[in-house]
């Protein structure tokens, strides 16, 4: 269990931040710029993957930049939980980069250099959150992510994008300053440290009411997790270009929110303390309400991306639900759902983008019959939605199975009902899309015959992620191995 000092964690974070320089410099040469983007994303994944063996052996790496407050440094540490999230995020970034090239070129978007540069900064921030050694460092990268994604959300620069951007920052920056910052300072005054420590740091330092106050502050302070009622920014942020929605609002940004909540639950509060004080119920209640309400709202949305956004809000709370069960199986399910949902949701968004490029349609009611013209896209969409619903033989089944076991272990039968009802609702809002695509008759004379599949640079990534949904069901061992290290070290 040795954690060695090493420069690698810093390299993993910085490579894409420094990568913005060549991207900005090759402003006028798109091919070179995109080559840099892909190269940097490959490099990032390689660095992170290179650290995997040590983590699997129970060790890790750390790097301390500067001790800014007594007992609190800006420091990075690679452990199993961070590695798990970083692997998923950096792998999906490669695919998103390739997809972005196809998407942005097909639509001939403006300001592509700014787009790729902001994307690279956001990626640095995401990995920074994954590898943060303490709450202060996590907060730093969390804010960096909110700010660097602002230009991406508002990419269109029209009035709708402007108001979405305003909402985005109000929710994310506002809650982090108003809730997370005071909570962090309170924890610091109570314990004198902010380090993530297995088993938590608050045990014996704070009374029950303080702990519950801190828990509520932090769950709502990390508004990126979109726990209701602080979810409004996510559907609004769907004005962004589709690769942004898919990666950031399907994977990186929202997962950073959930990851942060799980981080503090496991490593600041400690599941033992929450179980003693019976505070898991705070998490499960908030999560259950969000799961059910978001799924119901998703049923009413006609805009495909908005439906996916509400689906995301619901699915994110599964992970919080799992953590709140405070049983080993529940926590495993929550963490497992982080990657299963990531692969599923990114596929769905990439499909939505492919449909938009090919047919310029964004409302579900206008998509009748498109599946017959775009079989690859719709096939991938079908697989991914099955995974999110939680059907075997797809990855989502494993995480939901584990969540149900966790609920039964904890004797919380109500939560079993929540998971099952919500799965039915998921099916109810996904199947009509697929059904209409393959079987519904389109109205006559709307030029549907000319619709063809999206560019191949878009199709490859979405096929790969769809296959991964399948592959993760058959070979989940790496994910489970890492999760095992988190849940029972």
């Amino acid at each position: 269990m040795n954690v060695e000092p090493s420069i690698w964690p810093l390299a993993a974070v910085l490579i894409s931040l420094l990568g913005t320089v060549p991207i900005l410099l090759s402003d006028r040469r798109p091919n070179l710029r995109e080559a840099w983007t892909v190269l940097i994303s490959l490099g990032k994944f390689a660095i992170i993957a290179a650290m995997l063996p040590a983590v699997l052996e129970g060790g890790g790496y750390r790097f301390t930049l500067a001790e800014v407050l007594p007992g609190v440094a800006i420091a990075l540490r690679v452990d199993a939980m961070g590695m798990y999230f970083a692997l998923v995020a950096s792998f999906l970034w490669i695919l998103t980069s390739i997809y972005s090239i196809g998407y942005m070129r097909a639509l001939n978007e403006h300001d592509q250099t700014r787009y790729y540069a902001s994307f690279a900064v956001a990626m640095s921030a995401t990995i920074g959150v994954a590898f943060s050694a303490n709450l202060l460092t996590l907060y730093l990268f969390y804010e960096m992510l909110s700010l660097s994604t602002y230009p991406l959300v508002t990419h269109k620069q029209d009035d709708e994008a402007r108001s979405a951007g305003r909402k985005y920052l109000t929710y994310l920056l506002g809650t982090s300053v108003a809730f997370t910052l005071p909570a962090m300072i309170l924890i610091y005054t109570l314990t004198g440290t902010l380090d993530f420590t297995a088993g938590g740091i608050l045990a014996g330092k704070a009374d029950a009411s303080t702990v519950s106050l801190l828990l509520v502050l932090l769950v709502f302070g990390f508004a990126k997790a979109a726990v209701m009622p602080l979810h409004g920014w996510l559907p609004a942020a769907m004005v962004a270009p589709t690769p942004v929605s898919s990666f950031l609002h399907g994977v990186a940004v929202v997962k950073v929110g959930v990851f942060s909540i799980l981080r503090v639950v496991f490593f600041i509060f400690g599941t033992g303390l929450l179980a003693d004080l019976n505070l898991g119920v705070v998490l499960t209640t908030l999560a259950s309400i969000t799961i059910i309400v978001a799924s119901l709202v998703a049923l009413t949305q006609d805009n495909l991306k908005r439906r996916l956004a509400y689906s995301t809000i619901g699915q994110l709370s599964y992970m919080i639900l799992g953590a709140g069960m405070l049983t080993a199986a529940g926590m495993t399910g929550g963490l497992l759902h982080l990657s299963m949902h990531a692969f599923g949701k990114i596929t769905l968004f990439l499909c939505a983008g492919a449909i938009y490029i090919a047919a310029h349609k964004s409302n579900i009611s206008e998509m009748d019959g498109l599946g017959r013209r775009m079989p690859v896209t719709y096939g991938a969409f079908f697989l991914a939605s099955l995974s999110i619903i939680g059907m075997p033989p797809l990855g989502g089944f494993l995480s939901k199975w584990s969540l149900v076991i966790g609920a039964i272990d904890g004797g919380q039968l109500l939560l079993v009902a929540v998971v099952l009802v919500s799965s039915l609702l998921n099916a109810a809002y996904f199947f009509p899309i697929v059904y209409r695509g393959f079987f519904a008759r389109a109205a006559e004379g709307n030029g549907r015959e000319e619709v063809r599949e999206a560019p191949v640079l878009c199709l490859i990534p979405l096929s790969i992620t769809a296959l991964f949904c399948l592959g993760l069901f058959l070979w989940p061992s790496l994910a489970l191995q890492l999760i095992q290290l988190v849940v029972s070290p």
Binding site: L65, A66, E67, V68, L69, P70, A73, I74, L136, Y139, L140, E143, L147, P151, T154, Q157, A161, R162, G165, R166, L169, L173, G174, V177, A178, L181, P182, I185, L186, Y188, T189
Partner: protein, 498 residues
């Protein structure tokens, strides 16, 4: 030039430089800028050396011309003083690089007059941060203020009226302070800070001493624009020439807060019952909190970038006064750290404003449209300054706010803690409103430098951009260096009793 009187050279250089500029500037306008920059570079180098010496060898007291106290002039070069001297000389140097350009544009044939006042002001500030004599504080404060009145009056439009308002308020503050030290002199027979600190605890603390204390403090509050004594500041600071604003806005209020710390803890002590008194603390911190909230709200109502920033200065004064009066180590650390950080943030933002104004003129919000395309470097630096004001790590603004909130929690001053968080949120709204206008809105067709189609990049001259970039980098650099800065300088500089 022996190592023990280097700080005197740092002080004397701008003073001598001021008169040299006055004389030389009459004959050659081109010689003004090199002279000013040369003098200030020398001063900065000297201050840096002194600071490093104090860090390694500890502070010392220095008697000017060997006239011994209580008759002579004594200077105290300790950790806090030399840190402040470094800050003053660093900010002055950075600001003047930009001021040289903007003054050449604004005040073509009065440059040498401007820089004469400018250098005397800097010399006055150097004196203020070093002096160990309560009466010299008065003299030097008037030197700094009177030159500032003059600099403000050089501005356009209503500048003369604003300057006159400032004269009235500033002189009132000076009278309060002078009366206060009059009382002190009657009570103790000395005005040397060390002697005062020795004698005051032996006195019976009665109404006379309390009067002396409160007159001096109120005098300083007027000078630093502590809410509700702030009404002169927004007009004065927004009407003065840009070249003066980049110097006066970062330094004047901050140095006055430093003087308040000196007065409270080098002359009086934390044990003095007026400072100890929970009710007094409660009231002062409460007023500071109300001031922060009100000034932030007034900043929200502004439609001009420069005026918005002036109200933020008033809010920040509330931060620091509140932090000092929390009367605990965390709060004091936060206040002193915030003096440094706020000086740098204000410097960065006013340098950005000055760079924008170079081409754009007035800074009403609607004229800022499309600025991210026209001035990308300036706006990038402005964004860093804005993030620091909001308090986003790793910019330095986050860390001083951290200590201030920590101190507030320790003292149980929840109103103050709430005000700090409220003000961070308001700052976020304020700055993102500006960023939104500059980023989204496309400029009107008739605005200067824009046509239809591609927008031309048109930055301010390099002389104005470089100091701005340096200031923005300093915000992040100082933020990352907070740990050593607090541990090796500010903790040592905390007055005895904390």
């Amino acid at each position: 030039m022996s190592p023990t009187n280097l700080h005197m050279y740092a002080l004397a250089a701008p003073l001598i430089g001021a008169f040299a500029v006055m004389v030389v500037g009459r004959y050659s306008r081109r010689a003004v800028a090199p002279l000013v920059l040369g003098v200030l570079s020398f001063s900065f180098a000297a201050a840096l050396t002194v600071f490093l010496q104090v860090l390694s060898g500890g502070g010392f007291r220095y008697v000017v011309g060997n006239w011994l106290a209580p008759y002579g002039i004594e200077l105290s070069v300790d950790h806090l003083g030399s840190l402040m001297q470094l800050l003053v000389s660093g900010v002055a140097l950075t600001a003047s690089v930009s001021a040289v350009k903007s003054v050449a544009k604004d005040l073509e044939d009065r440059q040498h007059l401007f820089f004469t006042l400018y250098l005397i002001l800097i010399a006055g500030l150097h004196g203020l941060v070093l002096t160990a004599d309560a009466f010299n504080v008065y003299v030097l404060l008037e030197i700094a203020s009177i030159t500032a009145y003059g600099l403000i009056a050089l501005g356009k439009g209503r500048a003369v009226v604003s300057s006159f308002n400032y004269v009235i308020m500033g002189s009132t503050g000076a009278c309060f302070y002078l009366l206060g030290i009059g009382y002190l002199y009657i009570l103790t027979g000395t005005l040397n800070m060390a002697d005062l600190a020795r004698i005051i605890p032996t006195l019976e603390s009665g109404a006379a001493l309390a009067t002396a204390f409160s007159f001096c403090i109120v005098g300083l509050w007027i000078k630093m624009a502590f809410f509700p004594l702030h009404v002169w500041l927004p007009n004065a600071y927004s009407d003065m020439p840009d070249g003066a604003a980049v110097l006066v806005a970062p330094l004047m209020t901050k140095v006055t807060i430093y003087l308040m710390i000196r007065f409270m803890f080098s002359i009086f002590s934390p044990a003095y019952e007026f400072i100890q008194h929970a009710g007094v603390q409660q009231i002062v911190v409460g007023v500071a909190a109300v001031g922060i909230v009100c000034a932030s709200a007034m900043a929200l109502a502004q439609k001009n970038l420069r005026r918005m920033l002036t109200y933020l200065i008033v809010a920040e004064v509330g931060y620091m006064v509140g932090g000092v009066w929390l009367a605990n180590a965390q709060g004091m650390t936060g206040a002193i750290l915030h003096i440094v950080n706020d000086a740098l943030m204000t410097l960065c933002l006013f340098l950005a404003v000055s760079a924008i104004a170079y081409h754009e003129g007035a800074l009403d919000f609607h004229r800022l449209r499309g600025l991210y395309r026209r001035m990308p470097v300036t706006m990038a630096a402005f964004t860093v300054g804005a993030l620091s004001m909001i308090g986003v790590p790793p910019t330095c603004g986050f860390f001083s706010k951290w200590y201030l909130i920590l101190g507030g929690i320790e003292a149980g001053q929840w109103l103050y803690v709430g005000a700090l968080i409220f003000s961070s949120l308001v700052n976020a709204v304020l700055f993102f409103r500006v960023i939104e206008i500059a980023y989204f809105r496309m400029p009107d067709a008739d605005a200067p430098g824009t046509g239809h189609g591609a927008v031309q990049v048109r930055e301010a001259p390099a002389m104005m951009l470089q100091p701005l970039v340096v200031a923005a980098a300093a915000l992040i650099g100082v933020g990352l260096a907070t740990g050593p800065l607090v541990q090796h300088v500010i903790r040592v500089a905390l007055p005895g009793g904390f």
